[in-house]
């Protein structure tokens, strides 16, 4: 039995590889009934800089999380204006999984995300601001501490500040100390904020 399964699996794989790999054909294969074909197409579209629109369109209707993951990876690697704008749009999604997948993808795009980070951090929707702070978690960019400090100094929403202070505990330096002290006075009735700010200050002072 395993031999038969292996044979079938090889046939499917060969079938996918036999299909046309030019950009137009790959875009069409994004809506193939077979999720394996869609995965192959999404992966191979990395060599098609004009494919962002088709990938974004497919992502809006894609139910298979493994295909979605590859589409997001390809969008991240394409990294053009439309790709970044679409990833930002997913931060507003009601679909938690898609939102988290977009956050993970944007963490890998420091140069593309940096110019819009300032805007994301003052978005009217606090959930988008929380997502933006989450992107900073592993965004390797020199402005991360500066952005986080500004959040805890100015953002009126306690959970946006709570998310930022958690992160400052990991990446903050002595230049964040004053803002962390002030944060406790901004939210005097929130024990979690005091706890997290004290923890961040302790970590900063011990390094």
């Amino acid at each position: 039995m395993p031999l038969i399964k292996q044979h079938i699996s090889k046939s499917i794989e060969q079938d996918q590889r036999k299909r046309e790999r030019d950009c137009t054909s790959l875009e069409l294969q994004l809506s193939d009934p077979s999720s394996a074909a869609r995965r192959w197409a999404a992966r191979d579209l990395i060599s098609c800089p004009e494919a962002t629109g088709a990938l974004v369109l497919q992502l809006q209707q894609e139910d298979d999380s493994s295909v979605r993951e590859i589409i997001l990876t390809t969008l991240t690697q394409l990294g053009d204006e439309l790709a970044v704008a679409s990833l930002v749009g997913y931060l507003r999604s009601e679909d938690v999984a898609l939102r988290n997948e977009a956050i993970e993808a944007m963490k890998l795009l420091p140069d593309e995300v940096a110019p819009i980070m300032g805007k994301l951090l003052i978005d009217p929707d606090p959930d988008v601001r929380i997502s933006a702070v989450n992107i900073l978690e592993s965004l390797r960019h020199r402005q991360v501490e500066e952005w986080l400090t500004k959040v805890i100094e100015e953002d009126p929403h306690v959970n946006v500040c709570a998310t930022a202070v958690d992160l400052l505990g990991e990446v903050g330096t002595t230049s964040a100390q004053e803002a962390l002290e002030k944060l406790k006075t901004r939210f005097p009735d929130e024990p979690y904020i005091s706890f997290a700010a004290d923890l961040a200050l302790k970590r900063i002072r011990s390094t």
Partner: protein, 123 residues
Amino acid sequence: MKRILIVDDAATVRMYHRIILEGAGYQVLEAINGIEAMEKALQEPFDLYVVDINMPKQDGYGFLSDLRSRDLPQTPALMISTEAAAADRTRAYAAGANLYLVKPVKPDELLVHCRLLLGEVHP
């Protein structure tokens, strides 16, 4: 001693909840996402789950839905999230949450809701 599993990707939040719950005499274990929580749930019994929603790999909704679909004891679950909208609460209850709190949670608030779900106090 009653055992509580805290499921949250934020280390500071896990530590805050752990200090409060251990201070009240509970044994606390931690998981950083739904997948790790399910692994622990399959390995050992818990009296209560305290679950965040937004977590990478598998979110709180996914974990609770998965948990409730399995042939496991129907351990109560307290969902705690930054999401304050009514739709989020509805979705949490549909996934299998027994109670829903919005972050940040004050120590007394956390303890009283945990005790309620553990059957130690009554509404």
